[in-house]
Symmetry: C2
Subunit: 125 residues, 2 copies
Amino acid sequence: MSKNSPRRFTKQRRLVHDAVIHRVDHPTAKDIFHELKGTGIGIATVYRQLASMVEDGILTTVDYDNETRYDPLTSPHAHLICSICNKIKDIELPKGIDNLTPEKLSFEINEIELTWKGICDDCQN
Amino acid sequence: MSKNSPRRFTKQRRLVHDAVIHRVDHPTAKDIFHELKGTGIGIATVYRQLASMVEDGILTTVDYDNETRYDPLTSPHAHLICSICNKIKDIELPKGIDNLTPEKLSFEINEIELTWKGICDDCQN
DNA sequence: AAATTTAATGATATTGGTTATCAATAACAA
DNA sequence: TTGTTATTGATAACCAATATCATTAAATTT
Ligand SMILES: [Mn+2]
Ligand SMILES: [Mn+2]
Ligand SMILES: [Zn+2]
Ligand SMILES: [Zn+2]
């Protein structure tokens, strides 16, 4: 949204970017950190870079179980969260959802968050 | 859901229950603790009692900003969250929402979570 | 290609929400 | 009343996330 600071193209920024940009499983900062273990990157830098990518609109966040997860899919979509394995799956936002938006109120809507929680097919035994 | 443990009616349980059961603003554990400041109740007990009330199905939880908030409204409903004052309002779940449920997948849905984030009328200046 | 500027890094301390520990207490049953 | 044991409260511990700060290294200027 705001690009007011001159962002330097560090090797750490590239590392975090490349580690998260293609992932579809909504990793935490620690997940990314562990993936980059061999590079010597600091945990604080991972947190900082992920936060700056959110600022830049490259990532969105998904809060689950009081932990921030990062999502490279920035277009509006819904989620399926398995309460057993905690996996988060992207799913298409239902077509008619915008028609159901409460417009009577003077609430200025910026964002919709739709999540179905349950048990994924892998965990159904 | 499960009432497998013999729950004792302590005065602390009554205090927490009475402090949260009629609230409509989705308080945190610390909010309840501060409301009960004069009673000498311990912060750990507040956390424990709130958790046990969730177990008993008396409360539900709403996670926002990596903090657990407690909700005495246990029937399915949606939320409006103001990203400025962080107030959470209950709102009716749109009628047609169940028809939009993704049933193609073999995902066993237990719960729906629908939240609109934006700016409440009070914060629009 | 230096020299300069300063954003970014990494180690680590700190914060804040939440849970674990455990001796003391009190609810409940006998 | 007595015995059992769930619950309490103080506090240590845990964990995600942020703040601090000396050092490093992009980016810009000589
Ligand atoms: Mn997603
Ligand atoms: Mn609610
Ligand atoms: Zn699963
Ligand atoms: Zn507001």
